[in-house]
Subunit: 451 residues, 2 copies
């Protein structure tokens, strides 16, 4: 961050408006975030000019749902009745795409790019799946693309990764990037309830979508991980490169056992550079209660970044919500507005990594070395633990702690264990064999650990 | 953050070097941070170019201590034998000032600004005391000033505050910005030891200076608070505007009592906008153990930011250390290099606030409304608590919790209490009266609380 003035522009504030171009913004999609952006641009125009020195105006806003527009009470001059009034409008400098999903967002963005408009989007699915195509198109047309709001609402992880830590070789980036899952697991622990109840409350509070499938299955976290990976490691990856496991199989008792041993369970999105290859995975993870991420509660988000110069760093913020996400969209608009006024090559950066980075070797999930939490559902009879530990030993997995609290002779009871570090492929093999043992009554629950 | 290329610059990486100007850097001060910056610039030149698209070169480096230079093993071509080889050198684009303290750093920076050089500095004392003068001089000469490393080492709070949250009205910013104090208080709790022992260990580990006076007394935190206030609220303040209380009077038993009640004690730097006035204060503070800041251990730093759009946000990172601080200095160098290449008005931003902001009303410490932790050293005899609570009641201070664990008839024992919210001026008056009571044997310890 640097302050000051270019020597060509030794000017006063009264002169600034005359020199600076008004930047016109068109918004497509007036849902939660889009409505917040429209509101902020209309209400904060002069505040933004005072703080940032750029004049940004909402020119047109569109949503196919007329009721949404009405509810927002926007002035009629900014209401568009067709999206073409925005991406076909030569006066619109920046298209803000907030409809989400791949289609028709992709087509709209590509059209706007072809018309040399700049883009601000929060569309994580689109960037994860089609990032390479969109960035290449933007490069050819000279369009700038802002996407701070695509990962973690108000959490400025995109800017920090790309600008603040630009001289760092990043070795790992991992965090809580899905508010719904974090809320649900925090609630289960806090209210001592099952996942269904926690999810019901999350929906009632507007934290979870009515159909939270993408969140609970880890897909949303995977999209965000693809975007973070691109920035941290300079290579394009897509969801098919990521190992994904959701939170569905997590039971309240897992959370309780973990806490008794000094751990919390969080759904983490993890990108780690290890042994010359990149691990990309989303799964529930045990982290020590003393870890900062363990203090990230409810629907909040946080991302941990490890770099060769910075050591450990963390960015925390609201993961979702109207105004937090709108704040990130507006900061992108301001950044682009500054760039337009400066005729900037914004972030000529990363070019080489964008071009060469895709050759980066991806780590196979089977090669992962980590510690594990295991919960077996086994018949309570002599010799069970011995059968299980035999299989583990054969696969070179050693046990760190084991506990069996309930006793119910002849019935299935939980046997819970923490292992020392082991290979994922060995664990896979061991669990396959263990789950075939006659004493095992349900599929074994396995949760990976992070320090 | 936005990605892309200006349409005037549709270029390939192979052409980029021809178009872009090499940016030459001169470093004055090769201590911990300066040595790290020199090392990073020399070793990471091509990495930085690949990632950021700018070519940054270390041209000259100077330190008055010849032994330091020798120890670093810098190539002889970059070693300057007189600082004038740097600030008097027309080829140096950016002066990196890392000698610290007011003099002669101020004179060197002013000379460099007059020569239209850009500045990167980590000098919190200088910016806190002379920020207004330096920024005005820079404005007149067209110099850019980077100072990310002045607050919290690798923690990118300056950029985030100024760029990511630029559309937010900030209502509060507070955090742990002194690694020494945080380490000492964390250690006392962890090792169950007194402050002297904790400080000794901090010195042995190189975390505390040999003379840690500025840290322990809260002065260093105050300097950083002045800089954060400037960015968050757009007004220049100096240390004389800040209420300062260090950690010297904190005893191990205070930390233990606080923890028993679910609180941690942290030295916080706090800037809060309340009732149309700005509170600026540095003091030990009780925060709930469930607060994210409570998970910030050892010498780490973290800053909490509350804005009207973002809600709560936190930035966490290494507060000090060679490479973390060097990372921030280098990111400023890269930002300025990008600006030079773009002929940018970097952050024409905040102009109005810089000019008008100083009229912002500062809150009087006496008007603060907060909860308090109090530890009285009182003779163990009947009627003591009644005398104390009478004085509190007279001053409209009500008690939330009170405890007296030790009993030692006729001898001084601790009586510890948490109050409900009260006015600072009333608390001052009450404590003055209480400390005059014959049953009170030592000055009462008072620690403010934050939610």
């Amino acid at each position: 961050m640097c302050f000051g003035f270019d020597s060509d522009f030794d000017i006063r504030i009264s002169d600034l408006k005359k020199i600076m171009k008004n930047i016109n913004v068109g918004i497509i999609g007036l849902g939660t975030v889009g409505g917040g952006v429209a509101k902020a641009l209309l209400e904060k125009e002069s505040f933004i000019f005072e703080r940032s020195g750029v004049s940004v105006k909402l020119l047109k806003a569109y949503d196919k749902d007329k009721k949404k527009i009405k509810k927002l009470g926007l002035p009629s001059r900014v209401i568009a009745t067709d999206p073409v009034e925005i991406f076909g409008n030569t006066n619109v400098d920046i298209l803000v795409e907030l409809i989400g999903g791949i289609h028709p967002a992709q087509e709209m963005i590509m059209k706007a790019i072809q018309a040399s408009k700049h883009i601000v989007t929060a569309n994580k699915a689109l960037l994860a799946e089609q990032g390479e195509r969109i960035f290449n198109a933007a490069k050819n047309s000279g369009s700038l693309i802002g996407f701070e709001a695509s990962v973690g609402g108000a959490m400025p992880v995109i800017k920090v990764l790309h600008e603040s830590f630009s001289s760092n070789r990043i070795s790992a980036i991992y965090g809580i990037v899905n508010g719904t899952c974090n809320y649900v697991m925090h609630k289960m622990m806090e209210a001592n309830c099952g996942m269904a109840d926690a999810l019901k409350e999350a929906k009632a509070k507007g934290i979870a979508e009515q159909d939270p499938k993408l969140d609970v299955a880890g897909i949303d976290s995977c999209h965000k991980l693809c975007i973070l990976t691109m920035l941290a490691f300079g290579c394009f990856v897509t969801p098919k490169d990521v190992y994904i496991e959701g939170i569905k199989h997590i039971d309240l008792q897992d959370i309780v056992y973990a806490r008794n041993w000094g751990y919390d369970i969080k759904l983490l999105a993890i990108a780690k550079f290890d042994k010359c290859a990149l691990q990309l995975r989303v799964h529930p993870t045990l982290i020590p209660l003393s870890h900062l991420l363990s203090a990230v509660k409810n629907e909040d988000n946080a991302v941990f970044i490890k770099g060769d110069m910075i050591g450990d760093s963390m960015i925390y913020g609201k993961g979702a919500g109207r105004m937090p996400a709108a704040s990130s969209v507006v900061s992108d608009i301001i950044d682009i507005a500054k760039c337009i006024n400066r005729r900037a090559i914004n972030l000529a950066s990363s070019i080489k990594s964008w071009e060469s980075g895709c050759k980066m070797k991806l780590s196979r999930m089977g090669d992962l070395q980590t510690r594990y939490y295991l919960r077996f559902s086994a018949i309570d009879e002599p010799g069970v633990l011995s059968s299980i530990s035999n299989v583990l030993a054969k696969n070179k997995i050693s046990i760190a702690t084991v506990t069996q609290k309930q006793r119910n002779k002849g019935e299935p009871v939980p046997i819970v264990m923490l292992t020392h570090e082991a290979r994922e492929a060995s664990m896979e093999k061991a669990l396959k064999d263990i789950d075939k043992l006659p004493c095992i009554k349900k599929r074994t629950v396995r949760i990976r650990m992070e320090r």
